[in-house]
């Protein structure tokens, strides 16, 4: 081996392990990666931040499993018990709830910064698509997890959310039954969502995340086209340990923020779900679904002879598909030319989401 000189400075344990699992190769792999330094470097931190928050979710999620009981009769009560009787139960649940929200936020920032800096261009198409897959999984995590406390808000959010695929022609009612585990949202839906939330989605997320991280390691960080052209001399810092240590500072700050949010704004539980009570006034979904919710609220009942909800739902479906296929649709950037059109489309999408979310929180719920 070429590393023999440095091997001598290592301890005997290192050498023993190296002969058995090849630490030197792992070290070479870790040292291979460099992080480009330029005026957009700050956006590189949001992927790692999302990863950190995902790890917080795994840890707090496992802790919550120890007390949670997935049935319509016991779910609400088990969380009530967790929040009031179990020591630091409120803290674990509040961190889980806040970290979920922050994770979606950092994921959105990561996604839109990659989109605006055109990091999806060749050869990173699969990196991009695995990232869009992870966004889908994160939203599915949020949607299924929201039901688990079995409270009023969760019940109606799930009724509406599972009704949405039901609107589709032909496959609609089948999909709705498959999601709900029956014709209505009942205890059967709760156990189904529980299984999806704690087993299916974590497995898929691990696979997608593995692919995503492997590709990031393989291709390195993407340098925005503008920066690539301008500077002939490329500045960079090693990923390990320089960038990772900077990452850690961010992670520690995020943890501090989480603790503060959990302490000052602990997660609420609300009223237990009752399938025979009207939807509460002012009902709204999690903030990241708000723009879709508000769109469905504002669409008229019929648009050109088609039910308004169908128009909205098909529209969001096409939006998701567009996002997934951006690397193949943006032909100009694939040829190495500037593509301002896509920049404007992205700015349009973000403005739409922000405006509708704003309306969702400010319009009177009873008018």
């Amino acid at each position: 081996m070429t590393m023999e000189g440095s091997d001598k400075q290592r301890g005997r344990l290192w050498m023993w392990l190296n002969e058995r699992i090849g630490l030197a190769e792992l070290e070479k792999f870790a040292k291979k990666k460099e992080v480009p330094v330029h005026r957009h470097t700050v956006w590189y931190y949001f992927g790692g931040m999302t990863l950190f928050l995902f790890l917080v979710q795994v840890a707090t999620g496992i802790l919550l499993l120890l007390y949670y009981r997935p049935s319509a009769e016991e779910a609400y009560e088990s969380i009530q018990f967790l929040m009031t009787e179990v020591e630091f139960g409120w803290l674990i649940r509040s961190i889980h709830s806040w970290a979920a929200n922050l994770m979606i936020l950092t994921l959105f920032i990561h996604l839109f910064s990659a989109l605006l800096l055109q990091a999806y261009r060749s050869p990173r198409e699969i990196t991009w698509m695995s990232g869009v897959g992870l966004l889908g999984l994160a939203l599915a995590f949020g949607f299924t997890g929201y039901l688990l406390p079995w409270n009023e808000l969760a019940f109606f959010a799930t009724r509406v959310g599972t009704e949405i695929p039901g609107v589709l022609p032909l496959v609609g009612s089948f999909l709705r039954r498959l999601l709900r585990g029956g014709d209505d949202v009942t205890g059967a839906t709760l156990t189904r969502f529980y299984g999806i939330h704690v087993a299916v989605l974590p497995l898929l997320a691990t696979l997608f995340l593995g692919l995503h991280l492997f590709l990031v390691q393989k291709h390195g960080m993407s340098v925005p086209p503008g920066v690539e052209k301008k500077s002939a001399s490329k500045q960079a810092m090693p990923f390990f340990p320089n960038f990772l240590l900077r990452d850690l500072v961010g992670w520690l700050s995020a943890l501090a923020l989480l603790a503060a949010l959990a302490a000052y704004y602990p997660a609420e539980l609300g009223q237990k779900a009752d399938p025979f009570k009207p939807a509460p006034v002012g009902i709204k979904p999690e903030w990241y679904f708000m723009f879709m919710f508000q769109t469905l609220k504002l669409l008229p009942s019929y648009i050109l002879g088609v039910e308004g909800e169908m128009v909205g739902i098909v529209g969001f479906g096409l939006g998701g598909l567009f996002l997934l296929l951006v690397p193949f649709l943006d032909r100009r950037v694939a040829r190495g030319e500037p593509s301002p059109l896509f920049t404007w489309i992205v700015i349009g999408i973000v403005s739409y989401m922000v405006a509708l979310t704003y309306l969702g929180y400010t319009m009177s719920p009873t008018k």
Binding site: I164, G166, P278, A279, L296, K297, E309, P365
Partner: protein
């Protein structure tokens, strides 16, 4: 014969590949068919009752108010119009299946989820709902309220 033109080895390889392919296919089918059937929940017993007698007394339902009640396994709403008439509808909003409520300030039925409005005949009059609410027949027999589906 195919074996003679391809030579004995290639012919054998072809047959083996075919056997391997079909058994792999059969294996996957025997795994995914039961799993896919397992994922689809069994049909629940549909509530066959076409009438329900409410626990509410007619006198308990004030004018310009509404109450949710169970009709089989579905929620329904009983309202008394400002004119004093008793009416009943399915309480499942025709938009995205939230449960509607009676708004005394508007004197009609309203859905909190997406701001859908229905008049006192269950007609969708504003907001996103595409269809009217299903109306039920209300009969008052002595001090009992009986709600029935269909004519």
């Amino acid at each position: 014969m195919a074996e003679e033109t391809l030579g004995p080895d290639l012919g054998r390889r072809k047959i083996l590949n075919w056997l391997l392919g079909t058994s792999a296919g059969a294996f996957l089918l025997s795994v995914f068919y039961p799993v896919s059937r397992y994922l689809i929940p069994p049909k629940a017993e549909e509530s066959t009752s076409r009438t329900v007698t409410l626990s509410l007394k007619p006198a308990e339902v004030k004018a310009n108010s509404g109450e949710i009640f169970r009709f089989g396994n579905q929620p329904a709403i009983l309202i008394r119009t400002p004119a004093g008439e008793l009416k009943a509808f399915s309480a499942v909003c025709t938009h995205l299946a939230c449960i509607v409520q009676y708004r005394a300030d508007l004197s009609h039925i309203w859905c909190a989820c997406h701001n859908g409005h229905f008049d006192l005949n269950g007609l969708n009059i504003a907001g996103p709902p595409p269809r009217p609410l299903e109306q039920y027949t209300v009969n008052v027999r002595g001090d009992q309220i009986v709600v029935s589906k269909g004519a």
